[in-house]
């Protein structure tokens, strides 16, 4: 563009510069429309890895279905093991997308635009991975519809006082709304893809999926209202989902589970983990697909700030667990605090503190926040840390019951690990299919951003 790029008073560049409406559309759709031979090795490598690892999942499910949940490491008193840990881990990761697309939208944070689509897709895939665990944990997944209220010959209804049933409603609502939100955002882009692709069959598919979007002013008007409403609905929804997940634990009377800070602290942990996962994929993608002008260091900086902030809330949660565990005056609560720090699973607790509390403090530094390699490494620590957090909550609380006659140790079996690692393969596969078939950055929103920038420059 001919005019000079306008910087803000801190000398920062705008979130997008040097692009026009058509060049930005071109650039993003190229990732999807590029001929199969030109695709980067990164994509082939990622897809290959994903497809390989996902076989592990299929095999683990096959064995589970034929032999039953006895192949897992569950025992008495640890009746909730890897399945719940992995469920909460994945569903937490699945919060970043909706957070970025809904909450940041309401706060009019323009930097969300270039990361929203990718994060939303990851949300969906993470919810798919998460949903597998409770589905398989019921033992007979083909009877999972029993969870829903439907008229049946027993004349019975689900137990609405159970937090596990709240979870059924929360997660299925979340999945439905996330898909609708994602799809609604995609519709104008599918119309762009229709224009950009040369393949006749692909044109037809994109056209069909875009529902015949024309970009009529009246349609845009309703579309914008609908998007705002969806954002307004998705915001409380995303906060409620992890809050309800936390209630699975918190409404019991188990020390280490039953504490009132759980809902906000789980939500913060979800944001923390979700942003770490988005950055884990965003950093290689922006480098390999040459998208550094759309996914700038400024974006990374902002995401790291959100991560630091949510990480501090999580740390506050840990502090509250310790303080109120002691302050309660209850010997069981106090024992739980000591048992975490000094019990048989103490290493996992201290590793958690290292990953989630200490390492993220590096993000206070601007230099580290804008260094892709450092951010990538920190994100890996956070992902591990958030898994450990759920391990600490689930296992350490359960393995020491009120009576010492019901004390036992717990360890995941090879099938537990196979399931867990297998879902990572599923996630990878879905992400790479997405990169190949749909625009990974919301094209029309980027056009809007360019449009806004142009008009801002004109007014000066």
């Amino acid at each position: 563009m001919s005019h000079e790029v306008k910087r803000d008073p801190d000398g920062q560049l705008p979130f997008i510069s040097g692009h026009s409406l058509s060049s930005v559309s071109e650039k993003i759709s190229d990732v999807t429309t590029m001929p199969i031979k030109k695709m980067p090795k990164f994509w082939y490598g990622g897809m290959f890895l994903g497809l390989t690892v996902v076989q592990l999942l299929f095999f683990a499910i096959f064995v589970l279905v034929t032999r039953g949940t006895g192949i897992w490491g569950l025992n008495n008193p640890v009746g909730w093991g890897f399945a719940i840990i992995n469920f909460v881990w994945w569903i937490g990761i699945g919060h970043a997308g909706t957070l970025i697309s809904a909450i940041l939208f309401l706060f009019q944070q323009d930097w969300r635009m270039s990361i929203a689509r990718f994060a939303e897709a990851m949300t969906l895939f993470a919810v798919v991975c998460a949903g597998l665990f409770p589905l398989l944990h019921v033992g007979r997944p083909w009877l999972v519809y029993w969870l829903f209220p439907y008229p049946n010959t027993l004349g019975m209804w689900p137990q609405f006082r159970s937090p596990l049933l709240w979870d059924v409603f929360a997660v299925s609502t979340y999945a439905t709304v996330s898909i609708m939100f994602w799809f609604t955002g995609l519709v104008p882009d599918l119309a762009t893809m229709r224009a950009k692709t040369d393949l006749v069959w692909a044109k037809k598919i994109y056209h069909g999926m875009s529902l015949g979007w024309t970009g009529a002013a009246r349609h845009w008007h309703r579309y914008e209202i609908a998007y705002l409403l969806l954002a307004g609905l998705a915001t409380p929804l995303v906060l409620s989902v992890h809050s309800i997940v936390s209630l699975d634990f918190a409404v019991s009377n188990e020390p280490g589970w039953h504490t009132t800070i759980f809902p906000p602290y789980f939500v913060a942990g979800a944001i923390f983990a979700g942003f770490a996962m988005v950055l884990t994929f965003m950093i290689p993608v922006r480098a390999i697909y040459g998208m550094k002008d759309l996914l700038t260091e400024r974006h990374m900086n902002n995401m790291c700030k959100v991560m630091l902030f949510s990480g501090l809330i999580v740390a506050y949660g840990y502090a509250m667990e310790i303080f109120f565990g002691w302050y309660s005056g209850s010997p069981f609560e106090r024992f739980m605090v000591l048992n975490r720090a000094d019990g048989p699973y103490a290493p996992s607790y201290w590793a958690l503190i290292l990953c989630n509390v200490m390492v993220p403090q590096l993000l206070w530094s601007y230099k580290i926040r804008t260094n892709p390699l450092m951010v990538f490494i920190i994100c890996q620590f956070i992902s591990v840390g958030m898994w450990l957090e759920r391990f600490v909550i689930v296992i350490i609380s359960l393995h020491r019951d009120y009576l010492d006659s019901s004390w036992a140790m717990y360890a995941g079996t090879r099938w537990d690990w196979a399931m867990y690692i297998g879902t990572m393969g599923l996630f990878l596969t879905l992400v790479f299919i997405f990169i190949r078939t749909l625009p990974i950055v919301a094209i029309f929103e980027m056009r809007e951003l360019v449009h806004k920038e142009e008009h801002k420059e004109d007014s000066h």
Partner: protein
Amino acid sequence: MSTELPHLPTKLKEMQSLSLLIAGVGLSIMFLAWIFGVANFYQGYLVGWLLAMGFGAGGILILCIHHLAHGGWGFLLRRIAEASALTLLPIMLLYLPILFSLDRVYPWAIRDANGVSVYANDPVVGAKLHYLNHGFFWLRWIIITAIWSGAAMLFSKFSKLQDETGDMKWRRKMRFIAGPMALIYILTLTVGAVDWVMSLEPAWFSSIFGVMLAAGHMLSMLTFGIVFLTWLSKWEPVKTAFTAKRQHDLGKLLFAFVVFWTYIELSQFIIYWHPNLSEEITWYMNRQVGGFNGLSWFLFMAQFAIPFLVLISRSTKQNRKALFYVAFFLMGMRIIDLYWMIAPSINMPVPEARALYPAETKAMSGSAFHLLDIVGVVSFAALWFGLFLKNFRSRPILPVNDPYFSINAEIKDAEA
């Protein structure tokens, strides 16, 4: 029209004098009640003090969020929040009457003839006497007072230098301290919340309590900000600066925090209602009998249901008068919320809950509602408002030298 308006600085000065006069009279009555040992003094005084403290600490919270999130709406609130935060030192000092008679308010502070806490042999409260004791309680109050008033002065100082010099360095300093300060704020507030409110029922605990008070602080400052800005918008420069968009943003923020408050309250309620454990449920039992039951429902309706339905409509948030009334109403609800938090804990209307406490604590309460409650609230509200105006008058009403803020440019609001 504008020629008929009174001169703003004069008007502010008059209001300040009037507020301080009311506060002087009210606080004199309160002190007399304290000296003569009226049992009801404590409840009214504590509710009033928490109200004023909430406005002051809410100022710090708003400043932290403003400097971190950097939205256009924050610039309008900056001066108001700074002036409010500066009231914290005198207000914190007014906790002294309670500190000098802790054993009249807090059961754990009661000592027998040998100077040993009456809870020394209690299996639950006895276990926390290392924390809940006179010396440590005093120390925590001193530290919190020092940190909060220090933070308020720092924010004001940097902001003043920014105004005078226009140097970006001061802006960056404000942003730099905002992050750690937010963290320190919530940690100190949690400690304070446990000390000043939660330990009224020394056996009871809830780990979300600090956040709950913070939600109240945010609502205090936000509602006051909207009310005060609406009033100021009769005059320049707020008339120009308080644009429709900025007002809409403040309205949305108010809506968000009404929902957040409900979220926090409901979380605690569901988590304690569901397992129904005897050491935790007392908090809700005391709020489910007699007048307090009605008050609980009133709080739910008036602090959540009605404002929610009114604020959900965009026409309310964009209508200045409507938003003003909602904000004013919610500002009044702060008093109800605090009274609901304090009074049932002091009065213990449920015999089963009362029975958990040593015999000595039974003499502590007077009646659930007393004239002194009103005197306490009014005099603290007036005192805070007077002190606030004194600070507010001494500086320009809006930031004057911030490159991100201009009085009439909407465009700059969008900057992130």
